[in-house]
Amino acid sequence: METLAYLARRTAQALVVILIVTVVVFCLLHALPGGPARGILGPQATAQQIAAFDHDQGLDRPLPVQYVYYLRTLLHGDLGTSYTLNEAVSQLVGQRLPKTLVLTVLSAVVGLLLAVPLGMWQAVRRNKPADYVITTLSFVAYSTPVYFLGLILVLVFTQELNWFPSQAPQGDTPAQVFADPVALVLPVVTGAASMVAVFSRYMRAATLENLSEDYVRTARAGGSRQGAILFRHVFRNSLTPVIAMLGYYVPVLFGGALVVEQLFNYPGMGLLFWSAAQSSDYPVLLGCVLVISVATVVGTLLADVVQRIVDPRVKAGRA
């Protein structure tokens, strides 16, 4: 019951945040010079043609009116129609989102599965050669731009070694994508690299902090061995701050997808956003931003809920 009330409260807060996001994005996009008509009709279009387009699309009405209109259609699940692709935005996003989710969720899972043990291992072997090597690699991975890392991976693993194809799976549905797992390796590795770098640092710091806590000394004084202490106590205690960070990492993952999809020619939301940005396709841009912000808000919400489950103190308002 208490948890339900909490969820309701948090969802209401999340809706407010999403509303604010739509306002901000709407204003930003309309502040851009040129406007969509010029982008779609091209430099040769006459003023009359532009005025006709604007009238057609409702772009000659005052901004607040346009916004309210936009919101109203939004509530009906209608994200508008793409200016350039002549398709409903909801349909475009609906097709692409699952593929992007496959990519980002896989990257996140692979990233975490590597980062958490790596960070713990580093903490245990603190200031020894292994720790220094992994720390250096983490900083390299973190400071390398995603597209550059992707290019190097393509160069090494497709051109030189010929282990993996240079294109991501081209199927339209997640099932088709999974049918070609070898082709998924490079995109997922590219997407996971910075995640491994960042989260192994978090995990290392959290583990180190926990290893110096009094309760570790108590467990040792009770005859528990190092391995048992690490996995029974330190692991869970170190994981809670990492979980909290995960929610905030959702937009970073989507940002990474933008580049990865472009690089490996994977037609997901990233590619859609990319081409829409280039042709001032407002409805598509707004649709994508909305989906990403919803994903972020849902991600943080999920992270908070998981934290309430893992750490009973959060629920009691003590932490």
């Binding site: 806590e213 009094d214 309760y215 000394r217 108590t218 467990a219 040792r220 004084a221 009770g222 005859g223 528990s224 061995r225 190092q226 048992a228 029974r232 106590h233 869970r236 205690n237 809670t240 893992v310 750490d311 009973p312 103190r313 009691a316 308002g317 003590r318």
Partner: protein, 544 residues
């Protein structure tokens, strides 16, 4: 002492050094001691004397930068130089430990029953269910009510005393021959301290366990120990039966230490009451923290006042609201209802510059001198800061002169002016706090546990400085303390608080010697006195 009995702990020529950035620091130098079955050896000394290091060395729990040499044998096993696997077999079975801080000693995310069961299963081939049942039995033995439910609780759901009971349950889970207790009651209220000491004493007597009790509290020693070893700078300077050491100390240092311990006295006269108008007056103050059903009534109709030149001791257990009351007097917490007047002016009605001027008449000294001084400022800057805020017209030369003057008042040598707070000892730091509080010549000094983080000998000098300056400067002092003996020595009047209410208040001696409320009586009875003979009589229920 009978040499026949088995020695559960034997320490011979133990040396411990810590490797630091500035070279090796010796912590323990060639000490030898032993603990028999069914006896308690108290290891006493001030902070930095090395007593906790000895305790950790006996468990093989020294930190990584420590180098130990010599012999430490626990029930026949040599601990110094033993491997982790061998130590793990020993810890929790042959020797166990109870730590100082129950708030952090337990894993916050694991249910307490599971933490006890873990210790059981570390050493005995029991199934999960069996271990869980035994954990509940242990909780019952250490006096936790409704152990079946409590075993499923997380540490944050228990009080400090209950958490310490859980740590003790873990320590006795496998009936160890040796129990090492490192300041087991220092973080607890006196009444809880008395309960925990009773529990430890009972458990040790039942099972014939030898106890190494590490403490700085002479009252606890008198209450609990059979023999005493006094440590100073890593060496044992005196050892013997508790009556000998506490009542007829031979070593100069032991005598000094015992003389510095504040003792409850059982007779005395009240000082003459003060008639001047109060410098601070709280009238029917209520403070609530939080909203809704979880709101806590921190203060519930509290009235008290402090007059010029007098010290009012504010005592009570943790959570009684004494620090909140002090903060209300400082204007840091606005009361939900009731009035606070400072120097005859209602604090709620003054704003802006007037309020600042009013508050500049209040000096404050807090418990932790490390945390309450800015580590990046020099001593002189720390003391000068209030002058910069409230005496804007003062020239730099005047300011320097005033800082030097105040530092002299609190008996700090001028050479320390340029140092940072971290380069000072605890007592010196607290005197810097005091100088800072006095630099504006306050009419009221609020001191919240000003000596609780200090050793007794240092505590005494700091308290003496405050008392002397009060006679000289005539400020009123609101003195928050959990230590009834200190309050008895230091305060003219005393206010006893409990659960946000004033339980009783009056002149110090009559209130503490002839308390009207049952609560105050219990509070006083729980304070152990550093005299084993008297303490034994008090425990037996004979009123002194």
């Amino acid at each position: 002492m009978s040499g026949e009995r088995e020695r559960v702990l034997e320490v011979e020529d133990l040396q411990v050094r810590f490797a630091t950035d500035t070279g090796e620091v010796p912590a323990v130098c060639d000490i030898s001691l032993h603990v028999h079955t069914s006896e308690t050896l108290a290891l006493v000394g001030e902070s930095g004397s090395g007593k906790s290091t000895v305790a950790l060395a006996a468990m093989g729990l020294l930190p990584g930068n420590a180098r130990a040499s010599g012999r430490v044998t626990v029930d026949g096993t040599q601990v110094v130089g033993a491997g982790e696997a061998e130590l793990a077999r020993l810890r929790g079975r042959t020797a166990s430990m109870v730590f100082q801080e129950p708030a952090t000693a337990l894993d916050p995310l694991t249910r307490v029953g599971a933490q006890i069961a873990e210790v059981i299963r570390n050493h005995r081939p029991l199934g999960r269910a069996e271990a869980a049942r035994e954990a509940i039995e242990l909780l019952r033995r250490v006096g936790i009510p409704e152990p079946e439910q409590r075993a499923r609780a997380f540490p944050f759901q228990l009080s400090g005393g209950q958490r310490q009971r859980v740590v003790i349950a873990m320590a006795i889970a496998n009936s160890p021959g040796l129990l090492i207790a490192d300041e087991p009651t220092t973080a607890l209220d006196v009444t809880v301290q008395a309960e925990i000491l009773d529990l430890l004493r009972g458990l040790a007597a039942d099972s014939g366990t030898g106890v190494l009790l590490v403490t700085h509290n002479m009252g606890v020693v008198a209450d609990f120990a059979d023999r005493v070893a006094v440590m100073l700078n890593g060496e044992i300077v005196e050892t013997g039966p508790v009556e000998e050491v506490l009542l007829r100390p031979r070593h100069e240092y032991t005598r000094k230490l015992l003389a510095a311990v504040p003792r409850l006295v059982f007779q005395g006269e009240d000082p003459a009451p003060r008639q001047d108008a109060p410098v601070v007056e709280l009238r029917d103050v209520r403070v609530r923290f939080g909203r809704g059903p979880r709101a806590v009534r921190a203060l519930d109709g509290v009235s008290l006042d402090v007059r010029p030149g007098e010290t009012v001791g504010l005592v009570g257990e943790s959570g009684s609201g004494k620090s909140t009351a002090a903060r209300v007097a400082l204007g840091l917490i606005p009361p939900d209802s009731g009035t606070v007047s400072l120097f005859g002016t209602d604090l709620a009605r003054s704003r802006g510059r007037r309020r600042r001027a009013l508050l500049s008449g209040v000096g404050v000294v807090l418990q932790d001198p490390v945390a309450s001084l800015d580590a990046r400022m020099s001593v002189a800057e720390c003391v000068a800061e209030p002058l910069r805020m409230h005496r804007r017209g003062m020239s730099a030369a005047e300011r320097r002169a005033r800082v030097a003057e105040v530092l002299e008042l609190v008996r700090l040598p001028k050479e320390l002016m340029a140092r940072g707070p971290r380069e000072l000892s605890g007592g010196q730091r607290q005197r810097v706090s005091l100088a800072r509080a006095l630099v504006l010549e306050p009419r009221l000094l609020v001191a919240d546990e000003p000596t609780s983080a200090l050793d007794v000998s240092v505590q005494r000098t700091v308290l003496e400085v405050i008392a002397e300056l009060q006679r000289e400067l005539g400020f009123g002092c609101l003195f928050v303390s959990h230590d009834l003996a200190v309050v008895q020595q230091f305060a003219h009047r005393v206010v006893v608080m409990r659960a946000g209410c004033v339980e009783e208040q009056g002149p110090t001696m009559s209130t503490l010697l002839r308390p009207r409320s049952e609560y105050t009586r219990r509070l006083i009875a729980a304070v152990p006195v550093p005299d084993p003979v008297v303490q034994r009589r008090r425990r037996a229920g004979v009123t002194v």
